[in-house]
Amino acid sequence: MAEQPTGLRSWIFTTDHKKIGVMYLVTALVFFVVGLLLAAVMRTENLDMARKTIIIGPYLYNVFFTIHGAAMVLFWMIPVLLGFFANYMIPLMIGAHDVAFPRLNALSYWFYVGSGLIAVCGLILPGRLDIGWTGYAPYSLVGGANTAFYVFAVHLLGASSISGAVNFITTIITLRAPGMTWGRLNLTVWGLLGAFIIQLVGVPVLAAAVTLLLFDKYLGTSFYNAFKGGNPLLYEHLFWFYGHPAVYVVALPVFGIVSDIIATFARKKIFGYTSMVIAIMLITVVGFETWVHHLFVAGTLNWSRVVFMWATIFIGVPTGIKIFNWLATLHKGSIELTAPMLYALGFISLFTIGGVTGVANGLVGFDISVHDTHWIVAHFHYVLAISMSMLIMGGIYYWFPKFTGKMYNEKLAKFAFWLTLIGAMVAFFPQFIIGYDGIPRRYWKLPVEYTPHMRIAAIFSYIAIIGFFLTLYNFLHSAMKGKPASSNPWNSKSLEWQIPSPPPFYNFEKIPVITEGPYEYGKPEGEAPKGH
């Protein structure tokens, strides 16, 4: 065993999956803060519909929601899940010393940082991106925005995602410890595997879509140029072929983490493990057959609208199975309401509201009335943005003792949870009403009668943001000054809790031999946990 290097060198030249994971976490949290601050400014702009400019004008409003969307989806949620959680947890959960390709893993991280720097250029340098995180042609081609920022940020991030996907899929296939069968993997690993498969197949298509955008802008090609026989709808198709499954890239790992948290704190074996795995894989596959619902009002053919409506609604089935399985796991469990558990329960409630409105959106008839209105904003903030971001906080709390070796402040964690939950629940609800009235989104100002709605939204969004900032303070403070944590404070049966906190450099002194799954609760106390 080599001596452990220290100092700055040990971080920037590292190939250790745990250090790379922590670097992902810190970087992603920086982008999360950027996204939150941009949201706060936009909400402030909405405080009074009668006054013209409050802080930013209409142009900067467009820039802000572009970077807000990109930062939150591409630079916060996906990297924190597929960068931090995957890096830190997969080798520990499958019983490996590291990932299959440690150097490639480091390169994935640097691609991500490079991409983030270019995205920041898109916020501050002239030719700011005001094209939405979707970058729809033709506006991204004919507007004043510097579309190259957008394209290159997607390219580098795509390189990061694809190399990460290749690395982790290979790791899960080849580096499982003896006895770690597919049926004994944590659901977090299954969820991450599904997400990596989506990345592997989806990201290249997005990369192709934006490359063609670059060609149209700088080489005079005619992919999306209607004057020369091209079709801007082609961009929407290619974009959403990845853009919609990207939602499941976030959702599947989150589903896995929720399952792990609930099993641990209900002290019960997860209900319906096999159906959970089948549901994850079903979502992975069917997720690629729903993208046209983003184009229901764009002039797509009627038969395709019907087909994709059915596929969209069908996704509700495996998702519903997961929700019922969680509830069944909770049923008659010995529930312990720690902060991670609160986040898991909060997630289920927010996600259910978002999911049910999602089924409604999937219906062509209903979608035609609410397409591109504030209803959609409310829907995806419930189903994706807030619920998933909150659960990510819960996941960080859950493994906080493991990766820092310290305990977080439980009281502050719970207080911040309630602030965020109440803030988020109320903040987005008015937008369901505004959207139901048919008011389109992405406008700087709404009709004056919506001032009260948007005031409620603004005030409660501040509350949610304060909650998030308290959570971040808790992380930072506890990581430095928290009380030392034991190796397994939650008495979990999962493999990552059977080694010291924080894990030693090689994770396992000797690769363990696995004899049972991660959720074997309810057996007589004193029975040896798996691994030795």
């Binding site: 480091a106 190259a148 920022f149 580098l156 694809i162 290249p204 192709a208 079709n231 198709h237 090689y506």
Partner: protein, 268 residues
Amino acid sequence: MENVAHGGAQAVHHHEVELSIWPLIVGIGAFLVPISFMVHFSWEAPSTFALLGAGVAVVLLLVGLFGWVNEVHAKKEEVGLSKVAIVVFIISEVALFGGLFGGYFYTMLLSPSWPPVSTPEGVPPIELALLLTFFLVTSSAWMHMAETKLEHGDMGGFKTWLSVTFLFGLAFLVGMAYEWNHLIGDGFNISVNTYGTFFYTITGFHGSHVIVGLALQAFLMILALGGKISKKKQTLTKVTGLYWHFVDIVWLLVLSMIYVIPYFKVGQ
């Protein structure tokens, strides 16, 4: 896989490295490529800066990748995980070409005629394409010969067949360059109509994959001449072989979709 018998994965992974400078070097190189592009096209700085940036990027990328592979190859034993990884990677390549061909079909089906009427006579040049096909398909067979020789430990035969593979691949590229040059001279360029747009984009994407394949073969040759490839160190050769066969299969798709279908001038 053998490991299924006892229900886990078998690959023993020696955690041999903790620090490596190469990922950061490659990362900086990759970051400088788009920056150089933007320096010229977006920030309108003199093109010397862009060329300088691109030059530094290329040097960093080459040095970084060389140092990287050298570091990996210095190990005594191979685990051979790359053979799994390349298959996974090829799935993402399939998706990339799937996206491009999907766009091609979409545009073709919405067009009143294919290729559009503004396409000059003699396009697509199908005879030359068939010659290119000959070079690439046979080079795939030569690559297989090289792999077989290596499996038998015949290093001389390996180097010979690898050289033949490389030369046939190179002949493909030269033919493609000739074709592009000729077509552009005839007024069929990338912005003439949607067919020209897709023609150059898809053949260009495929050609860039041929270049990567040739670079891998050249690198294998350097390693083989330095005595760093043997019967016990086959992984990189297997990876190159799989990639090269994939590039070959994609060409058959390019041939049928981009050359053969427009050759019959649907709807004109």
